[in-house]
Structure formats: C-alpha cells, structure tokens
Amino acid sequence: MDRSFLSHNEVVSASRSFVCIRLSTYENEEEAKLLKSLFIGYSGDLENTTFALLDPEGKRSLVAAGRSPDRAFRGSTDVPAREMAATMREISAYYRKQGRGGDTELILPLNGTPRLALNVAACDNLPLVALHAPTEAERSRLEKRLATLAWSPELAGRAVYTVLTASSELKLNRPPKEQGGVTVVAPDIYGQTGTVLAEIALSEGDAELKAKLLAAFARFAPTEKDSRSHIFTGRQKGVYWKTLLPVTDPGPPNGRRPPRF
C-alpha cells in the first residue's frame, strides 16, 4: 500500500476531524458486503483495496470512491495529497456547521481479533497494545481508560489495539505475567509472533499508565521493510497468511498502475 496520501502531514492533520476506519479486506463478511457496495472494479468483485469519504451515517460517498484516493485526487506528486487534505477540511467544516462533529473520545480503536491486530501492527510498523482483565466489568473499565489515552495528542496513531481473552490468542516470547492490565508487544516483521515490551498492571493509575505506554512506545524500534525481500524471505520461511474470505482481486492487468494511497 503506497503511503503517499495517508502519510502526508496535511492529510493526517485533516483526519483528526474525521472518524478514520481502516478495514482488512477479506477478513469479515459484513465488511466485505459494505466494501462491494461502495466500489466494484473491473473484476466485478471485491478488490484488495478500497477508498471512500462518507457522510457520518456511512451511507453516502462524498467523493468518487475507488481503489485509492488517486481516483478522486489524481496525480503522482505531493499536490494530490494536499488536494485531498483540503477536501477533507471542507467536508469536516460543513458537518461542523451542521452542529455536529464533536470530539472523538471514549471508544478504543480496536482491530479485530488479536491474530489480525498483531499482523496489522506489523504492517503499520507499530507496537500492539493488548488489554486483558479477569472480568468483563474490569475489561470495560480498562477499555474506557485506554480510550481516553489512545486519542490524546501524544498517543494518537502510535499503536494498534486489541483485547485478549486468553494468552494463547497471541504467540509471544512469554505469556503476560499480570492477571489483568495492558501488555505492549513488538510484532515480528511478519506479524506472526511478538515480544513483550512492557506490562502495566490494572492497578496502575491513569498517569502511570500513560507514562508507561509512552516509555514502551519509545523502546519500540520500527523496522524498514523492502517489499520484494520481505515477500521472498517470507516465502522461504513458509510464512503464509490465510484470509477468512477468498481473495477475489484479479491483480493488475498489463500496464495498469497499482493503487496509490
């Protein structure tokens, strides 16, 4: 996935006034149906990537949906990303004037199953934050506490979050020691196993929780990846990601430019 749009600082800044949803294609039936309703490419079926800007009800596309922002904001230079950011600012200003567009708080941005979340963290080159608690009530309280921190300026976009109900859901170098709390994990480059970077107990206060998360994030070392050698070496090692749904992307026909994000 080319990051030239999504990593542009103006797009990142504009995204703070949006609810940003990133789905993993072929991992959820309900989501697959939604994506097909938004965009169907030449194949006539769900393709690997989709991009859309939608109204707050999730029903109306506000720009041309496609495989990437490139369709709506054509070009291959810095300028299309700025155009995208400007469009996003206009859209958010419109909804703010409608008396809507309040602060995004209180919902922790979870990423599906722990297995998928670990893979997503590896793809993003970010640490994984896994929360776990002995009871549902404690888990819910911890989730609300983390949600406030996850959206704070210091922590927003710096981790991938998931809920662990059993330590066997993640392959780690060691199981979490604490009965309940937060485990910060560094994924391996294939997102198949993880190394525990920090453990924060349920009993820690919010200030300590934040400080320890920041310290753990500072210890995390992102790894630069070269896609060709990543795929080559991964295949040699027998790394294989099985999707929940069949992959229906036809692949690029001759001469077709791959999607740019």
Partner: protein
C-alpha cells in the same frame, strides 16, 4: 600501482557486495520522535457507531494486511 593501493582496491571490491546484501536486509530504525499518523478504527461497526455519535464524516480505507499471502506488509 602501489601494492597497498591494489590491496585496498581488491578488499574494497570484495566488501561492496556484502555491504549491499546487508543493506537489503531489514534494518531496525530508531526514531527519537515518531511522525504523527492517522489513528484508525479497525472495524466498521465501531467506527460507524463513533461517526454517528459524533456527527463526524468518515475516511474509509480497506487493504489486505499481506502481500502475496506473506503477512506483515500492506
């Protein structure tokens, strides 16, 4: 050419492929300050609930967290 110069040239030519192959391998990158990134909801249900609650528009992306079935790369 001086013998020392020849040795230097020979050693340099032997080391260069090694350095290139090393640089191809994944290298850890430590960053003092992480650049700001988009904060994503990972599921449609939660993200849509948040959009409806806050009245905020939605930026929606979907991608595969694997490349040719090798995970760890979008």
């Amino acid at each position: 050419m001086h013998r020392r110069d020849m040795m230097t040239l020979l050693l340099g030519s032997m080391l260069t492929p090694l350095a290139t192959s090393r640089s191809r391998a994944a290298a850890p990158v430590r960053k003092e300050t992480a650049p700001a990134k988009i904060a994503w909801f990972g599921t449609w249900r939660e993200g849509l609930a948040e959009a409806k609650r806050t009245g905020r528009p939605i930026l929606l992306i979907a991608a595969t967290p694997h490349c040719h079935n090798v995970s760890g790369l979008w």
